[in-house]
Symmetry: C2
Subunit: 332 residues, 2 copies
């Protein structure tokens, strides 16, 4: 039989109300009494009923994580980083997969509010007006990770996607390429991945290379999008390098080129984006722009926990460093 | 201002106690009254405070998922399957990463109990006596996924790992190979992956092939374990095929062979295990034994929810079908 709050009070020789005050960190208890209670709790192995306490304190030590899809290669490391930090501060995480479905995102927000989570770490490809209004109405502390909010009203953790893409394309140009294809998200989509197209265009412009629409393929972020994308581009134009807005796209591109007998990197150089786990195991190993996924999750969670506990945060918008990693899908 | 239970009572023309009875599904309310209350709830958009209700009903509609590591390629799909089913039945999941650390597993179990989760989906490489005792003591409904429990005391979802490995090795033998290496988990580890070694040995024995210890390499399940493993085996013995206890091992093996100028599949055939997402993108595409990861998560979660709601389950131990998938790391 587990020890009750009554047992603790008896053992410490104080009232139940005093034990409750200690548990809830109310400051009116003097240190001697507090010590007696803490000792009694330890001795009896007492564990307070967190749910009952939550009602009083309005805290559940639980944080919601809203992501598009945990089985997408990009998110597990972010979630892992977030959970590790949550664990250090004695928070647990409720994981919600939304498939970027706005209705599902909003439904999850409501459920998380009902379950009285202390805050939400939010990742989405499309943070719209209605969702922002809902978050504000529900009054849940929220930190965005790799998610764009036009008004910058929420604290956030991102990398500079535009600059990172610019760097990657400039890298390809500096190696002597000028027929550089882009495969990835459309800039009409107002999301982090779409900013990579903006960076692609800036790099071309600065080097006086005309944007050739036949070299651009908009679509999804999966291997098959890369596979189909490069085949359709090769029907229309000559290509000497491909900048892909994601590593999975790059893998699909390389597989398509291999089947056509085109050598990567000697005939066509390919650069990916993200540095997902598989990019170093793939053949050839991908040259890519590494996003600090684990850090994005852990920094976002740390920031959220500070906000929940009304501590000051150093910056409202963290822009984490990315890193260009040269491997074997580009020439040495 | 959100509607309160008082507003609902007023709107429906009943007492607060009656609204509460409807919310808690107590059966003494007649259907007419119930309808009035339900209509009032809908009209006002009332959402009950779930935490307060949880205390009364002793249910939180929250389920803990304990896994080794969400950033390991094997688990995200299991978690996704589990979460999709949880979502259908209005449960949320609390995700816990344990890194197969028994202390961390036990700590999480205690925290989940305190947070009054309704049940736990449990994945571990080493379910020991202490953990089993703790689960029993905490009285949390628990379903095991891809986890071995010597006494079969918990409901579980697995595949027949021994038979699946046997099939894979027999497949290699039937193709004319008889110097077949094994790289993977040691049978001393009492876990699902280790059963694959047992299946490997049985296939050799049935075909009268002597077990050559120089062809066996025990280690971890990562690409580097395959990479180092095959190099060390090749120093000692001739090899015509490799059976790997995991796809990541197989990828490491193939990368090592490629660097040595050994062609897969023409010189050496390689078979993996699991069919993780990357195995179809890898070059060459892996021949492997597909585990139904998504189904393992969803079937396990469905079973757990039935148990939580005291519904009968058809089977206590689900053994899901696996499938041998022939791709390009073995000869046609």
């Amino acid at each position: 039989m587990a020890a009750s709050i009554k047992d603790v009070a008896k053992e410490a020789g104080v009232s139940i109300a005093t034990v409750s005050r200690v548990l809830n960190d109310v400051d009116v208890v003097n240190d001697d009494t507090k010590k007696k209670v803490v000792d009694a709790i330890k001795k009896l192995g007492y564990r307070p009923n967190i749910v009952a306490r939550s009602l009083k304190t309005q805290k559940t030590s639980t944080i919601g994580i809203i992501i598009p899809d945990i089985s997408n290669q990009f998110y597990p490391e972010i979630v892992r980083g977030a959970e590790d930090v949550a664990n250090i501060y004695d928070y647990n995480i409720i994981l919600c997969n939304t498939d970027m479905d706005v209705e599902k995102e909003m439904e999850y927000l409501k459920v998380l509010r009902e379950k009285m989570v202390d805050g939400v770490l939010y990742m989405s490809n499309s943070l719209g007006k209605n969702t922002i209004e809902l978050i504000n109405k529900l009054e849940i502390p929220t930190v965005l990770v790799e998610t764009i909010d036009k008004d910058n009203s929420f604290p956030s953790v991102v990398i500079d996607n535009e600059q990172a893409a610019y760097d990657a394309v400039k890298y390809l140009i500096d190696k002597g390429n000028n027929k550089i294809a882009y495969i990835g998200s459309d800039e009409e989509n107002f999301n982090a991945a779409a900013l990579r197209y903006v960076g692609y265009k800036r790099a071309l412009r600065e080097k006086d290379i005309n944007l050739n629409p036949h070299l651009v393929h908009f679509g999804g972020m999966k291997p098959n999008d890369g596979y189909e994308g490069i085949l359709s581009i090769l029907n229309e134009a000559e290509v000497d390098a491909v900048f892909c807005a994601g590593d999975e796209i790059a893998m699909g591109v390389i597989n398509a080129l291999r089947e056509k007998g085109i050598d990567v990197p000697n005939d066509i150089e390919v650069v990916g984006f993200d540095n997902i786990y598989a990019s170093e195991i793939f053949y050839p190993k991908l040259t890519t722009v590494a996003q600090p996924m684990y850090d994005m999750g852990s920094v976002g969670m740390r920031m959220l926990i500070k906000i929940i506990n009304k501590q000051s945060i150093e910056e409202k918008h963290y822009v984490l460093p990315y890193k260009m990693i040269e491997r074997n899908s580009t020439k040495k």
